[in-house]
Symmetry: C2
Subunit: 206 residues, 2 copies
DNA sequence: AAAACTAGTGTTCAATTGAACACATCATGT
DNA sequence: ACATGATGTGTTCAATTGAACACTAGTTTT
C-alpha cells in the first residue's frame, strides 16, 4: 500500500520526525524549507503532499502544523505520566501528584491501558508477592477501580499499603499473599483497596 | 512554585490535554473558545496566559498551535524509544529499527539507563527464567554490551535468542537457565551474546 | 525522441491564528 | 465604599502559515 519513498522524501520525513521530538510540535512548511535551504516553500509542499499520499504522513489539511507522524498518531503514542509513591498515603492519591517521589513516563499502548487511564505507581517492599513473580524494588502500576477476583491489588492495612491477590471464597472477598510465609487469607471487608495492578516495571537484572 | 489553578483554568488545561491526545496536535485558541462556547477568543487567551505563567503550560509564543504540556516537554523527559522484537534475528539489531514489531517509549531515568542508551526489547517466550521471576510475555529490555558474571543475557542459540544467566565457573563462561527443567549449563563460547538485560516490563497482572 | 517522474524556483493569495485593547460583571476581601 | 482578581464580550490588527500556479531542469521509462 505504501509505496517506496524517494531519497528526498525520506529526508523530509526524518526531519519532521526529529523536529517533533525536539519541539513537541510539528514543523511548519517554511521551517522545513529553511532547513533544506530551499528557495521556495512549494518544494516542501509537494514533498509533504507526496508523503501524505503514500501514507507515510498524516496531515490535517489547512490546519497549521498539521503534520502528524503515523507513529505519533492520536492515541497511539499517548504517553502517560505516572506518579511513583514510596508508600501510598492513606486516602486515594488522586489530585495531588505533587507529592509523588518521582514520575515514570510510559506510552499507554505498551502498558495496555487506555491513554486517559489514571495510574499511579508503587515501589514494592518485601517479598509478599514472590509467588506472583513480583520481587522487592519492582515498580507496580496500579489503577483505582473495583477489584475482580484474582486481581492483584494494593490494600491499605495498618496504615501501610501492601500487595495482595484479591480472591473470592464462598462468595466473600479475601486477600491472599502469594508467599507461604505470610498469613494466607485476610478478610477483605473493611479494607481500603487503593488500586488494581495493571503492570510492572523492573530496573536492572534480577 | 506553581500556584493553584482556578476552576476555569483547570478546565481549559484538561481540554487542551484531551484535544492533544485525540488529534495529536495542540488546539488553537479559537477551538478552545468554541468548546467552551465563549463569544470572544480573548477569554481563552487570558486563561492560557495564566496557565503559562503558573507553569502549568509551556507555549511557543507567536507560533500556531504552540501549546505544550509540561509533560510533553522537550529534553525534560529523556524518552527512549525501544524497538520490540518478537524474535531477535541473527546479528545485532542495531540500525534497522524499521523491522521491529512495535516500539515502547519509556523515560530513561525510570529505567536507570543513560538517555543515549541503545536498547532493544524482547518478548519472553517460555519459562526458562522462571527462577529469576521472569515469566512468559514479559518484555525484557536489553543493551548490547559485554556481559559480566551473573548478568542475564539474551544469547543466540540455534538461530533463536534465549534468556540465560551468564556465569563464570572455574574461570570459564557458562550460560545457566534459571529453571531446573532446562539444561543447567551451556558453554558460553562460540555463542553470540546479543544483549544484557537492564530492565523488564510486564503488562497486566500475573 | 516522447512521456513520466522527481526536484526545484519565484511569486501570489487567502485562510488560519495569536495578540491586543477597552469595557462589563461578579465575587471576595479590606 | 474601595480595591483586587477572575471571567467574559466585541472588535481590530498583524503575523503565521497552507495552498496554488507557471515555468525550468535532470533522470528514468517507454
Amino acid at each position: 500500500m505504501s509505496e517506496a519513498l524517494t531519497d528526498r522524501q525520506q529526508q523530509v520525513l526524518d526531519f519532521i520526525q526529529a523536529y517533533q521530538r525536539e519541539h513537541g510540535v510539528a514543523p511548519v512548511l517554511r521551517e522545513i524549507q529553511q532547513h533544506f535551504g530551499f528557495a521556495s516553500p512549494f518544494s516542501v509542499q509537494r514533498h509533504v503532499d507526496a508523503l501524505a499520499q503514500k501514507g507515510a504522513l498524516h496531515r490535517l489539511a489547512g490546519k497549521a502544523r498539521g503534520l502528524l507522524h503515523p507513529a505519533h498518531h492520536p492515541g497511539d503514542s499517548a504517553l502517560i505520566r505516572i506518579p511513583l509513591y514510596g508508600i501510598i498515603p492513606a486516602g486515594l492519591p488522586t489530585a495531588n501528584e505533587q507529592e509523588a517521589d518521582s514520575h515514570i513516563s510510559v506510552d499507554a499502548t505498551s502498558l495496555g491501558v487506555r491513554p486517559d487511564a489514571k495510574l499511579f505507581a508503587l515501589r514494592v517492599r518485601g517479598d509478599s508477592m514472590l509467588g506472583a513473580h513480583i520481587v522487592e524494588n519492582d515498580v507496580v502500576f496500579l489503577t483505582p477501580r473495583e477489584p475482580r477476583p484474582r486481581d492483584i491489588v494494593a490494600a491499605l492495612i495498618d496504615g501501610e499499603s501492601t500487595l495482595k491477590r484479591f480472591l473470592l471464597q464462598r462468595g466473600r472477598p479475601f486477600l491472599h499473599a502469594e508467599n507461604p510465609r505470610y498469613p494466607d487469607l485476610l478478610p477483605a471487608t473493611e479494607l481500603i483497596i487503593q488500586g488494581v495492578m495493571v503492570g510492572l516495571l523492573r530496573t536492572g537484572a534480577a
